[in-house]
Homo-oligomer: 217 residues x 4
Amino acid sequence: MKQARPLPHYLVQRYQGWRATSFNENRAWYRRLADEGQRPRAMVIACCDSRVHVTSIFGADSGEFFIHRNIANLVPPYQPDGQQHGTSAAVEYAVNALKVTHLVIVGHTHCGGVAGCHAMCSGHAPELEEKTSFVGRWMDILRPGYERVLELPEGEQVRELERQAVLVSLENLMTFPFVRERVESGDLSLHGVLHDIGDGTILQYDPTADRFVPVSG
Amino acid sequence: MKQARPLPHYLVQRYQGWRATSFNENRAWYRRLADEGQRPRAMVIACCDSRVHVTSIFGADSGEFFIHRNIANLVPPYQPDGQQHGTSAAVEYAVNALKVTHLVIVGHTHCGGVAGCHAMCSGHAPELEEKTSFVGRWMDILRPGYERVLELPEGEQVRELERQAVLVSLENLMTFPFVRERVESGDLSLHGVLHDIGDGTILQYDPTADRFVPVSG
Amino acid sequence: MKQARPLPHYLVQRYQGWRATSFNENRAWYRRLADEGQRPRAMVIACCDSRVHVTSIFGADSGEFFIHRNIANLVPPYQPDGQQHGTSAAVEYAVNALKVTHLVIVGHTHCGGVAGCHAMCSGHAPELEEKTSFVGRWMDILRPGYERVLELPEGEQVRELERQAVLVSLENLMTFPFVRERVESGDLSLHGVLHDIGDGTILQYDPTADRFVPVSG
Amino acid sequence: MKQARPLPHYLVQRYQGWRATSFNENRAWYRRLADEGQRPRAMVIACCDSRVHVTSIFGADSGEFFIHRNIANLVPPYQPDGQQHGTSAAVEYAVNALKVTHLVIVGHTHCGGVAGCHAMCSGHAPELEEKTSFVGRWMDILRPGYERVLELPEGEQVRELERQAVLVSLENLMTFPFVRERVESGDLSLHGVLHDIGDGTILQYDPTADRFVPVSG
């Protein structure tokens, strides 16, 4: 792999700072986590977006969350066809091997993936419809959500589609037999959250009201 | 989505604490990031493992890294077949849309996915060979790495396979035409890192020595 | 004390979040509690176990409960021998200085201390019988309880010994003259509770039925 | 145990509220904690005082902290004399059985136990010097701290003695061979904290400066 390059110096410096401080102060805990294995309480599925800092928002330290991040925090439907499904693999590992007890989908505002999906579905992004567009094919997962926002005024559709990215993923999660089984037995709770990256708030989906509502302490 | 449940109270409390402190102190920056969009310098591909805290290790703040996390930090080969490839979509978005200038694969020790792959390839985990095993099919990506560790004593194979998970991913990245093009034009640097979660060190791949070496400041 | 180390960063962050929210919203109350002193209604004696959250279960706010926590929520018999008795000191302070009107012993299931006591008393943990074993000597307090569970089938003994840890402590409390006096004058009520940490229920000791019964609202 | 009484109604109501909400939302996690055992990262030793809410301040949820609470957050010196030492038993269990990696002494301002110790040592509380005073004998542990504050103006002595309650305990912890060994091997970190219950701040002991300093994020 001859193209690999040394890390930028600023990252090396930060790593060395981290190791001399945070790591050093928690050395024994990291050693235990390595020796005894992880036992995370929750799996979090969030977007790759650089503005979504789940561990900061939820004050999570090493060992707490098993985190999968992909574009637009999407979960595809259950499809055991022998192909590679990275998200489904992560869900399977978290639920069946690690036995997490919470699975949280964290959506967010200003999501480039969701905006692209809306542009594609409304005919404004033909390049995303190409077979060779990985982003386009990935965002196909959200097409059922697009159908549901069509009745809204155009100016509100993208905003609602961000919520649908959470809801469609939760619905798809329930198509996985091992997820459904553990949800129904009470061994796993699903949660849907929307993070507004501009004003810092989070909303959570309330199935009784069938909408996202502010969290209250 | 009637199965969604309220967030655990402790997460709500932590979120409220974050919003009243970190968020509040950086309110203007978050507002700008939302209004003007993200402009991350690097994409990081890391494992979902709860013990791998890339943002801590590299002291990354909101807006710095576009982060994809999947099991065993793997990148599949370029395969534009119209199917859903979440990792390839994330790479495509980071390189083509966000134009990141660094792409870092962060592997780690004690990786459950890698250990599972070794067990599967060596015939000790028939359940992972089932067509319906998402984890097994996902770990197929690392099979070429398994071939290369076979010559080692069995006790060293898993440890070396963790390194191969970084190298195979870097090699697969180079099969993406848009990655290769930008690497060759000097617009994108690839980096391979291995994080020892027990002793807190990181090593980086050095193509001259063809092995992982300590980083130096 | 040159070995002291800085607090882990995640605890500092959580503290800062707490101060900016819960503390800040109740600033005046905390100020009054500091200026005027505490006036707790109840003393609670519970186990150190990390899974026993008395303040959560009983929704207690700052200033409500004077809480002593030790291994297996034990109270030794009255023994004014001039030695150090931390539990007796806590009881004395709560009853004589603070004049609490309730004293609640909260036992719990899956108690490592109780299991160790059973192992020791039944001859399976010789290391706990050593003079130098602090845990063993502490659990000696529960030996009278072990005698009472011997008649049960072995498989039920530990479960019953968890109840005895509550009852023996209540009995020992009555050997303290200042406790007995206030109980008999009606100024202090004793309560015995068993918390099942797995299913979240609590039972309370009913002296009429001479057993633990569900609480009813 | 015929004196036991039913729980006050308000506690029953709060318990029922907790079970229907917090417990219910985290049912699977509590079940796992019960089935698999606790694995707390830290032991905390704090005062029984009703105004000291360690779990709130540090945002700790069920399973995180092994908590011992006694009067004035004191640890006696190592004394394996076959007598009952509840605090030493708790430390032994946390360090040897649970293998916690942090041990935090949390002192606090306005501590009644510390004030009593000062009154006793300065000759103003003869009742605490009685052999039968459990509080007096318990506070004997802090006498070495009193010696060190004598040089200060009388008005500052109690305030400094609260800090000594943390430092003497840390020093005494180091007299336990199993604590010293793990501290020296890097498997356990000791921390000393002082919580001002009136203004909500916490300070931590800095051995370089030899004083308590504000924590910084």
